[in-house]
Amino acid sequence: MLDRTAPDTMPAWGRLLAHVVVWALGLAFLVPFIVVVLNSLRTAQEIAQTSMIGWPESWAFPNYAEAWSQFCVAQNCTGLQPFMWNSAAVTIPATIVSTLLGAVAGYAISLWRFRGDTWIFGLVVLGIFLPQQVRLIPWTFVLRDIGLINTLAGLVLIHTIQGLSFTTLFCRNYYLSIPQDLMKAARIDGAGFFRTFFRIVLPLSPPILIVTVIWQFTHIWNEFLYGVTFTTGSQQPVTAALIGLNAAIADVPQYGVQSAAVVLAALPTLLVYLFGGKYFLRGLTAGAVK
């Protein structure tokens, strides 16, 4: 498998045009983030007095300190920090488990094959269309019956099971492009289900695993509805703390500190992209497809 598919015969102007277009789009994509970062360095008063979008007059770096450890949610003035740990405690396990299970399931469905595989695949993938809202009340009953309401474990369970729909879809469609010859060769060599998975399929998987991990991590990390309904008080995930900074109709929006909090809360997901990106580039063992 290649690092790139583009043929080497690309005219110089074509390459220049490609650069220009991509970087221009990139800049456009960055604008909202730039606005948030700039706002994170302005004081709420300055924002209230001038405009939502603007260059900082004075650099309110303390916004970050306040966002991290000082702002208050009712009596608890601990800032964002404890909520970040809660989010991590839910997101990391749920992401890892759902990705692994999805990879195995995707492999089983696309490469190993078994009776009823297309049906179960269709059914599981159909689940991605089920909107969050209609799942809320049923999950309440389920969590109550297994005793996991108001626990982080309950959230992990929800996100893992729901995540399977996406992870299976991603992995199965990616694995379809792995040639059957590899599978045949493995079978001839006497490798079983698990050996084939670990020796052949997994090494070919990094690009899709990265994509899957990114999807799961961001969706679980940024999830709000279940996080707020099924946890309480200091257990809540970081999304709940962020919303706490949102304005009700009767208050001054704390946009300065909120923007700083948003940046801090987004750091883990941004780091996942940066780290995952490098792995992505490294590609795969070049010799696998010989």
């Binding site: 208050c72 309440t140 009953f141």
Partner: protein, 426 residues
């Protein structure tokens, strides 16, 4: 699924007979589990202060704020009720109190309320909301007026106006004067649903509070389709035309800089806007606060109040906590403390606001409340879910916000739509 049926039948039956607090509640150390959406800002500070008072009396205060919109808090409440573990008290307001009290059993506070002689000092409309089935199950915490008029000093100066409008006709005159004098947008409101609803209710209640009561609070079809409502829409159209067309869905605080600078003239908002202006760094002499315009010379007060509902619990310490909380919430000192922090006015009409810590706006609002109650012109806010349950409110506000945002809808069409919306949402 059979458990749901059993549960709902049981809850329905029990809800009809809210049980009084047990006597053994006296002995246990009071504890209170509270759910509200007041996690930040002045509301958060006020509830925290109330919690301190609770702890000073020896109680254990366990407040779990649910950040987000009110809906998220209701989802949490629902989840707790389904789990069989409702909080001892939770934030709820308006007709929702009656609706939710049918789902799970509530505490009967009649004895405590009678002992404090509370009912005499609460506006009757307000009291009624907190006594579903005739028994007190909830207690109001603070009152806001939604039809408050804020005027920009600088815009007034530009228009060389010095008279505060007291009727809608005068309001219109002032707006025209401001426009002519170069104030780009005489009305500074925001573009959210609640904001659009507020403007309408301020207009209708100001034009004719009796019709407001019949149409909006009692949903009388004739009143809803009548000429007064049509006139209200016509006035609302004028107001919408005086607003910046770019309000979209923005919070009103976004326009405050321009309001104070005199580019926008008037704001029809709840009393909380004073706090928002001051917290935004503006000064008291940047603006003037006045009661909303009324046609018949007598004060009209469109009321919005927050409250706590008390859910039945078998645990003695929670029962003791509820008793303590109820007592605290009814005390004039605590209502004073609460309202001074949030900028609202106390529920009790007998609180003396002459001391320090009250702004002129609050004093005036409290006085207006008393006077409006005396002439039966204190009505419940539609936009803030006091007049109707959430479902009906949302259906009506759909019509109102569409009207404000879509110039092509005529007042006649709007009236027709309003009647239809009410009919289909019943």
């Amino acid at each position: 699924m059979a458990s749901i049926r059993r549960r709902s039948v049981l809850a329905g039956a029990v809800g009809l007979m809210a049980a009084p607090l047990a006597a053994r509640a006296q002995a246990a150390k009071p504890r209170l589990t509270v759910i509200s959406q007041w996690s930040a800002g002045s509301d958060g500070a006020a509830i925290t202060a109330l919690g301190k008072k609770f702890e000073e009396r020896g109680g254990v205060w366990q407040h779990s704020p649910v950040p987000g919109f009110t809906t998220d808090m209701m989802n949490k409440l629902r989840a707790q009720i389904i789990a069989g573990d409702p909080p001892a008290c939770s934030q709820l307001k308006g007709p929702e109190i009656a609706a939710w009290s049918k789902i799970a059993p509530t505490v009967n506070l009649d004895a405590i309320v009678a002992a404090a002689g509370y009912e005499k000092v609460v506006a009757p409309d307000l009291a009624r909301l907190h006594k579903p089935g005739g028994k007190w199950s909830a207690l109001p915490l603070q009152v806001y007026r939604t039809n408050t008029l804020f005027l920009s000093k600088r815009a007034m100066d530009k228009a060389k106006a010095d008279k505060i409008p007291t009727t809608w006709a005068q309001f219109n005159e002032l707006a025209e004067k401001m426009k002519a004098a170069g104030v780009a947008h005489p009305v500074a409101n925001g573009g959210t649903r609640a904001d659009d609803g507020q403007k309408f209710e301020a207009v209708l209640a100001g034009l004719n509070p009796a019709v407001y009561r019949k149409a909006i609070m009692e949903l009388d079809e004739k009143a809803l389709g009548g000429p007064e409502v049509r006139a209200a829409f016509a006035q609302l159209r004028k107001i919408a035309d005086w607003m910046d067309p770019n309000t979209a869905a923005q919070h009103f605080s976004v326009f405050l800089p321009r309001f104070v600078a005199g580019e926008m003239g008037m704001l029809i908002q709840g009393g909380w806007a004073q706090g928002v202006l001051l917290n935004g760094g503006f000064k008291l002499d940047d603006f003037i606060i006045a009661p909303g315009p009324t046609e018949n010379g007598k004060p009209v007060f469109v009321l919005n109040a927050d409250a706590f509902i008390f859910w039945q619990s078998k645990q003695a310490d929670l029962q003791a906590g509820q008793k303590l909380m109820a007592e605290l919430v009814m005390m004039p000192e605590n209502q004073t403390m609460y309202s001074q922090i949030t900028g609202s006015i106390p529920v009790r009409t007998d609180v003396d606001l002459s001391g320090a810590g009250w702004s002129a706006g609050q004093v005036e609002a409290a006085r207006t409340l008393k006077e409006a109650v005396a002439v039966n012109q204190s009505v419940l806010s539609l936009a803030h879910n006091m007049a109707q349950e959430n479902g009906m409110t949302a259906a009506m506000i759909d019509v109102l916000t569409e009207f404000v945002k879509n110039k092509a809808i005529t007042p006649d069409q709007a009236v027709k739509r309003l009647v239809e919306a009410v009919a289909s949402a019943r």
